[in-house]
Each structure stands twice: as structure tokens, then as C-alpha cells.
Symmetry: C2
Subunit: 560 residues, 2 copies
């Protein structure tokens, strides 16, 4: 594992430009930007909010990720001549040529981003980011910011659920690159599943870019590529790392054949069913990596071949003072097999007086879902490390978080959308977001009767990330630091909100303070009046509901 | 729409290097490559096959995509000094330094790729690509090739299902960028949903890179950003495009207010509920793009505001000899609303003698799934264009195709894996793949009793793509050409195999011809013997099962 160097940080920033070119957005952002520009409104100050409408996976919370990439994207936001030429070819011919000069000069120097910190626990309908700046520019940012936050937050939340299901003891390996939505999907998955609580990834580029520990030893193809012991080379090999500096060359094949006989005898196994090619593969790997021997043992048959071959090679390594690591199981009933494998490890440990043998690692990988991960805690098993691919990176149970980016204010006046679907209506106006914990921290959260839980992120205070005029006023955390933040943020949640199935809802209160201006500015308040009216019918029976103090000041608290 | 220029083709090739760096693979590919190298086997000729085990989405077929990206990846496959330095830091310290020199020199000049053509109908368990070359190199390619094929094929197949569900008449717009697995997931989705049968994308970068038609006009934020008619500018604007060259400036606001009064009268609508900001937004957009007017009309209320405002602006445009395009509905019951909208269009058409008004486009976008797309064909509706995002790009119903890459031959000798899960066992040996159609084409496929359907792809013949020593012997198709190929390939399937629910299985026959060599080469045949033996128990009652002619020649046909 390598820590991310400053070189790889630069690589990260460069990669944003390559991964998220400024044209990677929806066409209508440009047609709207033109219409704003055409009516002279492109520089009007506007505010958008980014949020999601439901906690993912039927759970009680989500994690917020992807914000650092958004910052890098904002910093590098520019149109090239080539971009502008392409836009000229796809926008309607009536488009005023001066608009393209305007685009060529655009950057995000007028944009301010307020955000909850990367890696924090968040809830449905809470504004995660507030993006303010010139109307045309903040409009243009919509799709790219959503694209960067949506999947990152989803897969991070999914990983956190796998971690909750697995408990803190087991090591978790992400290995989903081959099943992800293309190369960048795979890279994003490796990065944010680590942030969400995984320990390692199989993805080398993710290790290179983000300093995530990488792991992996062999696939079935390696095992099946060998067919006989004649393929083991060098035939006489593997010096024992003896302390006196002597390097006696050992005939490892003979040594292992001897051990294999003793293992078969111990276990009453038939040597006729043992696959010679598999033994050759294990031996070759052990010669290459005597300190890192962890083969996959189900290419032919765990009990009739793979386990026996493993024990023989591992015993040879122990005899030569190396320490093998363990085995991987990749098919069948992992729990049952892991128990059988551990039983054999214990027998060998006792029979051959090698204490370390009984605690060799057992790695399980076989289409693990959140459900099967949770089952591991209910059924007897001896699995130390779990590798997860498809269900983790594709988020099978809910493959989209559904983040949206909605206009809430223009020129200081709140805006909202109604929609034919009530749940698609938006809450107008800028918001401050808090999460209140009393001094007792997590403990107090269980006393819901005494405390109102609301959100503790106070956006627009100096302790949060903030982007303006090309300056990021808070240092960005490394991937590992964000990962720690995630775990401590999850700690602040009461277990009843963390239950994977049917969690208690975390109550998000909404308090609206708005001073009505004169009639010229009243459009947003008209909306708000309507919105409150619509919600009052649901909320009027709630004790927290307060009557507004005067005609122009709404002060209501209700449950979303 | 721009055709992909040679410039953007180069951009595509460059982008592969950026999107799929050579380190974007699983660590175990390197540990295995080292073990092969250490035992002197890295240059042994080996063959891998890439396939999937089940047709996706419970359907009867899949489409094969991503192969062109694989070719570009193979062509650019190299390790940089920086890559090698990173690998040195993560591979075990025992790794021989000479191995890193070996890596630094690697390329794919010794690799041959046989493949079914991009964009062809394929079925479960059929080898889609055969990758042969030096063992260590073809092993190293596994994860990257899978990553490039898995999602591309899945989302292309998903798009083809949406197209089948929609019928050929409706236009389909992909708009999933914001919900995809990060930026590259979004780009891949736009590219391969177009290939799979969509007509347009909202994704501008996809238009730029692949020449896909791009579309889109406005979001709700555009509408809600306006609050009064005073924001319309210029207030006196929009010359009628009169043929004699005169450009009388028209007071569009007054003109539209007049039309709005007549529309309200016609429909018996209350003018008091009409949102002035929405009218301002529509007018501003119409001034910007008088030839491309297609607003979203449900930001407040379709029937009380959006539809009335649209009709008023559209009537003004018609009066000035422009042709508005239509409306977009983004919430609620799209079918019901589209019928209401069409009804109003017809009334306006008759009342104001504008024939074109009744056939204005109605675009529907509201979390469309394959199911709701299919419902559109059952319920009365007037939707001409459907926009699909989340369910299309995330492939909600089955977010992974589950492609695998398995070793089938080393040094001319077949290899297989057994696994504890029988369905994970592999079929050893290289395969030729055919799909047989008689001269009647599609028709003959219905006569399953008379014809055995097998696969028509003959890999390793000149008509397929082929990669060797840096030369691609077949020209690569453009995205649009591949899209046409997809539709004609789907045409070869009988409708009963294309049913979205419970299709008839397409029968894939498997014929094994293997001449057994002497005992030294027999490992693969041992496996095969076992494999056949295992399958004989299932297949011996099948009439197609044939007895082998002699001890050493297996000639069996059975159903997988």
C-alpha cells in the first residue's frame, strides 16, 4: 500500500478534467443558459440545492460522498475552443454567436459552494450542497455535480451497510471492477466502498490513485493452467530462510509429496482424486511468493483435492520457516466449507504441532449480497475475510440514489416547483442545516422523547467545505481520513436508525423563517404559502406545529 | 448532430488510455503473472474465453457490445515507469526485480482476439471473445476486458428491450447521465443505449465523441427562475420572419396576452390561476429559440397554467410563421395528461385554423421503466417521445451481466474449472461458434422441429473482427453503423425469443470434437471426460446424444 503522493493528487485533479469534461452534461443546460443570456439574466444571483428524496436500500440513513470531486470539477470548469465549436454545431442555428464568446470566457470564479462535509451521515430531503452564483453558470453545473455525487454517495452508503452487516471484526475486500459500470464506475466504486468501510480493494489503479490497500493472489485460471508437476520450475528450489545465512536448496516437490501423504493419512483421504495440476499451481505460487501463499482451493474439489494440496504446501512452507497466509473459497456453501476447512486446519495444527496452522485465514468470495453477509453472523462459519463484487458495486437492491438539484432562490427571492407528483415539489428558499446532539452525544439520541433530533450540519459556517473564487477554504481530506470520518459519523447514530431492515425513521424537522417582502418580491412567498397550506393538512395535528406570529412571518415546524 | 470526425476518433483512442489505464485491473493478475514468469511459463500459448452465464433481465437474448473499446485498449496496452514503480511498492518484497523489467517491455503484439461482431445478438454461455497469446499477457487482460464488455453489453441489451417495449414508432431519448455510475458510466450508457436502439441522448459529450443526436430544451429550474413578465427581455422583440425581408418588431408580450385570453375563453379556464413567471419563462425561451419551442409544462399545474401558457406562446409563434415543437410532461399520470393535452391541441387547431397545432410533439419523462414503457402500448395515450433515465442506465432489474473470462486451453491442451457450484464449471477447449440460418432467414427459425438452431458466429473466419500484432484486420464501425447492425441482428430472432416476459429459450447446441492425445497431454481430456460424464447423466436421454465413435474421439451433442 502506498500513501497518495502529491504526484497522485495532481493526477487526481488532472483526471477530473479527463473524466468530467465540461461537455459531459445535458444539452438543455446550454439551451437554458442561452435563454438566460438572451434575456440578460445570466448574471442574476441564484441558488441551487442538491438533495435526495428517500434514504437508499430501505435504510435509515445515507452517506454523503463525491464532494471533493465536485470541488476539483468546479476548479477546472472551462470550455475549450473545440467544445464551443461542437456546441455551435448542435445548438439551434438561431443562437447568437456572441453567446459562444460568453461561454468561452466562463469559469466558476463567481460560484460559492456550501456543503456538508464529505463522508457524513445524511438523510432524505436534507440539502447536501448549496451552489450559488450567476444563474447561467450554476444552471450549467447541474448534471456534472449530480453525476459526481449520486453514485459516490450511493455506493459509499451500500458499503457502510455491508460493513454494518459484517460487524467490525471481519475484513472486507472490494473486488467489483469487472462488474461495474465501465472503468470509471469501477474506480469510483473502489474509492467510495473503501470510504464506506471496506478494508481493501482488488483494483490496482484505485490503490495507485487513492492509497487504498490492494489485495489478491490468484484466480482459477492460474490453477487450471497447470497440469503436471513437471511444470513446477525450478524443480529444486526455495531456500529455507535460515538464520545462519545458509541457503540449502530444497527439493520442494519431494518435500511436499511427503507432506501430502501424511495429510491424506491423517484425514483418511484418497490420494487418487488429488489433482496434480493444482498441486503444481500451488507449489509454483509458493515458490514465487513463499510469504504470501493464499491459493483458491475450489478449482476442482475442496475436500478431495484443493484442501489437501494446500495443507501439503503449507506444511512444507512451515517446515522451511515461512508463514503461509490461508485459503480462498469461491463457490458452494461458504459457511459449511469454512467450518470443514478450519477443522482440518486444527487437525493439522495438533498433529504436526504447528499452532499457527489453526488460525490461517479463510477468505470467502461467492456472489455475496448484503443479505448473505448478514447471514454470516447467524450461521456457524470460520470466514475471516469476505470479498464482495457485483452486489456491492452495482448496488443491486437500489442502483440509483436519485439525487436532484433544484433552484431555491433567484435574486434573494425563494423559488419552488409544484409538480403533478406532490413528492416532487421542492421546499423554497435557502436553508441552514443543523444536527443537534447534546453533550452526551450518541447516548442522548436514544432519549427521543426528551430531545428533538434534527440535523447538525450548519452549512455556511467556517467549519464546512467552501469554495469561492478558486480557493478551497478547507483542506481536502485524504481517502483514508474520509473513511475514518464516515465511521465516526455513523457512530453518532443510534442503532435503531442503523438497522438494515425497517429502521426507525430519523426525524428531520423543518423550520421556516421567512419575512415577506413587498408584492414585487412575493412570487416565492406565494409559492411558500401554498406549500405550507398543502402541508398543513398533514401536519396540523403535530404538537410541534406553531402558528405564525404575524401575517408576514411564517414560523412553522413540521415533519417532512 | 455532428458526425464523428477523425479528430474525435483520435479523441476516443486517447480517451481509452485515460479511462482504462493499464493498472485498472485486479491485483491478482500481477501476482499470477509473476508466478507464471517465475516458473518460466509466461510465454506459453494460452486461450481465454469471455462469456456470460444467463441472458439478462429474464429475457431470451443479449447484445454484445464493448468490443471496439477492447481493441483500442489492447492496442494501447503498456506499462509506464510510474505504473511499474507503483507495482513494485504493492507486490510482495520477494518479487524478483527482473519481473518489473519484463512488465515494462510488455505489449499485446503477441495477442490475437477473435470475436463475434460488435452489436450482434448473443446468448448465454456462448463464447463472445476468444483471447489467445502468451499466458501472462492474456491473464493480465482479464479484468479490463470484462470491465469494458460487461456494462456496455448489459445497457445495450436493456436499451434494446426498451425499444422492443416502445415499438418502432416512438422516439426514445436517453437522459440518464446524472444517475449513472459516475462520469464514464454515463458516457458508456449514452453510447450503448443509442447502439441498442435509442434515438437521442441528452449527453452532450456523447454527441461530441460518438456523433449521437443530442436533444433537450429546459428543466423546471428554468421555469421557476422567472417570476414576472418584466423579466422578459427584449420586451419588444421577435421579428416575424417575413419573406419580403421586412422585420417588423412585434410586442410579443401583448400578442401572447391576447392569445392567452382567447385560449382561456375557448377552454373555460380561470386566468387567475395562471402563473405569470411560467409565461415569462416560455416567452423568454421562445424569443431565444423561436424554432425550437418545447417547454416543460408541469412546473406548477399542467391544466391550470402550463398548458394554457404553452398554447398562448405557441399561437403567437404560429401567427409569426414560426413552428413550435411541442411540450414535455415530467410528472403525474403521463398517459392521461397526454390525452388531455392532445385534446386541447386539437381544439386550438380547429378553433384557430392551425392544422399543425394538433400534431405538436408530446414528450413524456417521469421515471420510466421497461414496465411502464410496455404499459404505454396498452393504455390510451398521445406520447410521441419518451425520455428514460434511471431505469435505463442503472439497469435496475439486473444491474450486472456477470460476464466471466475463463481459461480454456494452454499449449494446445484444453483446461476447465469444476467449482462447487455446477453452473460455475467451464467447458474446456477452444470453440468455433456458428449460428445457422437457412436461406429463408427469420422464417425458418420458427420451424424449430426441422432445424437445429445454433449460433452463426464463426469465430476465426475473416468476416469477424480480429486483432493481431497491432493490426485490426476489420474496419471498426461507427456508433451509428453498429446501431443499424443491432436492429438487423435482432430481426433474425423469432418474436417468441424476443418476448420481454417468459420468452422461449433459444436453443444453443454444443458439439464437442476432441481427439485424445497421448497420456502426457491428457490433463485437459481427463477433465473433459469427467465433464462429459457429469453431463451425460443429464443428457443421455436426449435424442441428439451420440455415442463416441472410438475411445479417443468424443462426438457428443447436448443441450446446455
Amino acid at each position: 500500500m502506498a500513501a497518495p503522493s502529491s504526484q497522485s493528487c495532481t493526477a487526481l485533479e488532472r483526471s477530473i478534467r479527463e473524466r468530467v469534461p465540461t461537455l459531459l452534461t445535458d444539452l438543455y443546460q446550454f439551451t437554458m443558459a442561452y435563454a438566460y443570456w438572451r434575456s440578460g439574466r445570466h448574471n442574476e444571483p441564484a441558488v441551487f440545492e442538491l438533495f435526495f428524496r428517500d434514504n437508499p436500500f430501505g435504510g435509515g440513513f445515507s452517506l454523503f460522498s463525491g464532494m471533493h470531486d465536485c470541488l476539483l470539477f468546479l476548479r477546472s470548469f472551462r470550455f475549450t475552443d473545440e467544445d464551443v465549436e461542437y456546441l455551435r454545431s448542435v445548438l439551434p442555428p438561431a443562437t447568437d454567436p456572441a453567446f459562444f464568446l460568453f461561454l468561452r470566457e466562463l469559469d466558476c470564479s463567481g460560484v460559492t459552494l456550501h456543503s456538508v462535509p464529505e463522508g457524513t451521515v445524511v438523510f432524505a430531503r436534507v440539502p447536501l450542497m448549496e451552489v450559488s452564483g450567476p444563474l447561467a453558470v450554476v444552471q450549467l453545473l447541474e448534471t456534472s455535480l449530480l453525476c459526481l455525487v449520486n453514485y459516490a454517495s450511493l455506493v459509499c452508503s451500500n458499503a457502510a451497510r455491508f460493513r454494518l452487516a459484517a460487524g467490525s471484526r471481519r475484513k472486507l475486500l472490494e473486488m467489483g471492477l469487472r462488474r461495474a459500470q465501465g472503468p470509471d464506475g469501477g474506480l469510483t466504486a473502489s474509492r467510495y466502498t473503501y470510504v464506506g468501510g471496506f478494508d481493501m480493494t482488488s483494483n490496482v489503479q484505485a490503490g495507485f490513485l487513492f492509497g487504498i490497500p490492494v489485495a489478491g493472489t490468484m484466480a482459477h485460471s492460474y490453477v487450471t493452467s497447470f497440469s503436471s508437476l513437471e511444470e513446477v520450475w525450478p524443480q529444486v528450489s526455495l531456500s529455507a530462510p535460515v538464520s545462519n545465512g545458509d541457503h540449502d536448496n530444497i527439493d520442494l516437490i519431494s518435500l511436499t509429496k511427503g507432506w501430502l501423504g501424511r495429510v491424506c493419512e491423517l484425514l483418511g483421504a484418497e490420494s487418487g482424486k488429488i489433482h496434480e495440476g493444482e498441486l503444481a499451481a500451488f507449489l509454483s505460487y509458493a515458490i514465487a511468493y513463499p510469504h504470501n501463499f493464499l491459493p483458491v482451493i475450489d478449482s476442482y474439489s475442496v475436500t478431495c483435492s484443493g484442501l489437501l494440496n494446500f495443507c501439503a504446501v503449507a506444511l512444507s512452507l512451515f517446515e522451511l520457516d515461512y508463514s503461509p497466509l490461508g485459503v480462498r473459497l469461491d463457490s458452494g456453501d461458504l459457511c459449511r466449507q469454512s467450518v470443514e476447512v478450519r477443522h482440518v486446519f486444527r487437525l493439522c495444527s495438533e498433529q504436526f504441532s504447528i499452532p499457527a496452522f489453526q488460525s490461517l485465514l479463510i477468505v470467502g468470495t461467492n456472489n455475496i449480497s448484503e443479505y448473505s453477509m448478514a447471514e454470516l453472523n447467524k450461521k456457524e462459519n470460520e470466514i475471516d475475510v469476505v470479498g464482495v463484487g457485483t452486489h456491492l458495486v452495482t448496488c443491486t437492491r437500489q442502483p440509483s440514489l436519485g439525487c436532484v438539484y433544484k433552484l431555491v432562490e433567484v435574486r434573494g427571492s425563494p423559488r419552488m416547483k409544484f409538480s403533478e407528483d406532490p413528492e416532487k415539489s421542492t421546499v423554497p428558499g435557502r436553508k441552514a442545516v443543523y444536527r443537534m446532539l447534546d453533550t452526551e452525544g450518541e447516548e442522548s439520541l436514544s432519549t427521543i422523547e426528551k430531545h428533538i433530533e434534527s440535523l447538525n450540519y450548519r452549512i455556511s459556517v467556517p467549519s464546512t467545505y467552501y469554495f469561492n473564487t478558486q480557493l478551497i477554504t478547507q483542506p481536502l481530506c485524504s481517502t483514508a481520513e474520509t473513511r475514518e470520518k464516515v465511521q465516526s459519523s455513523i457512530q453518532t447514530l443510534h442503532p435503531r436508525h442503523k438497522r438494515l431492515q425497517e429502521p426507525d425513521s430519523y426525524i428531520v424537522s423543518f423550520k421556516v423563517h421567512l419575512l415577506c417582502g413587498d408584492m414585487e418580491q412575493c412570487q416565492g412567498l406565494d409559492c411558500l404559502g401554498y406549500w405550507i397550506e398543502r402541508h398543513l393538512t398533514c401536519c396540523h395535528s403535530h404538537p410541534a406545529f406553531l402558528q405564525c406570529k404575524c401575517t408576514h412571518l411564517y414560523t412553522h415546524t413540521y415533519i417532512l
